[in-house]
Symmetry: C2
Subunit: 275 residues, 2 copies
Amino acid sequence: FNFNLLCVGQSGLGKSTLINTLFNKDIYDLHQSEIGEDDFVSNEEEEEDNDRVKIDTISTTIEENGVELNLTVIEAPGFGDFIDNTNSWEPIIDEINSRFDQYLDSENKIDRSNIIHEDNRIHACLYFIEPTGHNLKALDLKFMEMIHTKCNLIPIISKSDILDDNEIFEFKNVIKQQLLENNIEYFKPPTYAVDDSESIAMTEQLYDLIPYAIVGGEQGTRSRSYPWGIIEVDNPQHCDFVFLRDVLIKNFMEELREKTNTVLYENYRSNKLKS
Amino acid sequence: FNFNLLCVGQSGLGKSTLINTLFNKDIYDLHQSEIGEDDFVSNEEEEEDNDRVKIDTISTTIEENGVELNLTVIEAPGFGDFIDNTNSWEPIIDEINSRFDQYLDSENKIDRSNIIHEDNRIHACLYFIEPTGHNLKALDLKFMEMIHTKCNLIPIISKSDILDDNEIFEFKNVIKQQLLENNIEYFKPPTYAVDDSESIAMTEQLYDLIPYAIVGGEQGTRSRSYPWGIIEVDNPQHCDFVFLRDVLIKNFMEELREKTNTVLYENYRSNKLKS
Ligand SMILES: Nc1nc2c(ncn2[C@@H]2O[C@H](COP(=O)(O)OP(=O)(O)O)[C@@H](O)[C@H]2O)c(=O)[nH]1
Ligand SMILES: Nc1nc2c(ncn2[C@@H]2O[C@H](COP(=O)(O)OP(=O)(O)O)[C@@H](O)[C@H]2O)c(=O)[nH]1
């Protein structure tokens, strides 16, 4: 079955790296894309492309727990990278809407047998927050405000190895406060009546940890090496990577698709049919 | 005598931290300013202040090598922080110009005995580059292009502990290449005929290391502690802090003021008098 993951954030926040680390596969040829980007960015090129956020998709097959998964990662290069980022969220919102429309059309077909295999709706959005340690910026708030009613939002603190434990704690509190004040909801892993109390506690912890403080491994590895030490991506003492992996892949991928289908898509559909 | 240092960069890049570490003094009450900023940033406040870069100055007396120094740090909160950052450099350029004008006026006074003690011209600008590991952004290039003919530009890679040694090496090469292509000059510590070859080699190394890869210490300390290790600010294996300190304070402060007086100010003055 399909899993469609939208990744949004400024250039250089480790998006490609995180995707490779999450799915344990070199989906992006990182070295290749970095060479191209570094060699050819120049002032004229940036002016040609200025104010244009593009939508890129990359699809691959992933094996998780013996199950084959059609993974599609949707990215928006240019988002947050220009001098003027006004309306930079529009191409992204349009992309989400067009995928909803695509599903709406296929629902109306006579032969709908393939519909679940052609589900191109966005099942989750990872939003990459810059690890400033201060607060969310205007663009972060604007984007998350625009998107949270359209897809499952999972905010993450990118490159969190830059912040020590106290700074992460305070930064998370500020972020949660700002999201609350702006009525921005993010994905809440559901608990079920049949769950035991330990399982419920773990699921609540998964929710409390958001925004996940993430570190991505150096290319092809699951760690980052520095003169002063080695950061282990899978070590919960070092970052929240294992918890993000839990929510996104191991335990709640079905819930993300479910909520997209029964809540987010249905809201879109009824709003569209009313208007 | 006076030393006036302009610090420019997005919020959260460690500007206040670096100033405190450079001058070994808690010039910014970091905890205080972070509490205020975090508690009161909200959507409405940001909209009121939107598109308005402010100029803040903070002055203090510093002792260096037994010499007393009137240090003024000029900052531009808001630079790079809005959704639309068009013209965000203008208030900063205006500030530099107005300080040149101030000096021009005082040169024309009858009693000029105090002129050197009232030198408010910007002697150096530290420009904080985000440690993306990719390349300079459009705003970085635009700002440095606007400022390098008006004051001594020293570009630095902020929070460089986020990048490993290979990444820093590649990032520096890309940055230098982009600055070259855009004809942006940065401060070159001068060598003198009387210097011995070892001293010349060291001065050339100081220039080659730009942009300096910087790490600022945790509040009140000269290190940063993490579960995976301790980063030492003064350790040249960990970052270029000691080299920046060398250029800015220990060995080339006089050259920075000299170049401001004899080259940058004179250019401004002759352009102004011609027009
Ligand atoms: N310190 C640190 N660096 C990271 C992390 N993730 C990626 N990087 C580095 O940041 C740079 C940019 O990463 P990349 O994945 O290309 O960013 P993207 O532009 O968002 O796709 C690369 O040099 C990565 O090795 C992280 O979690 N911590
Ligand atoms: N990892 C890392 N964090 C830093 C560094 N310098 C400052 N910080 C942290 O980044 C956060 C913002 O620093 P601050 O000096 O207030 O940034 P400013 O907004 O540019 O003045 C604080 O939590 C600092 O402890 C650095 O070199 N490396």
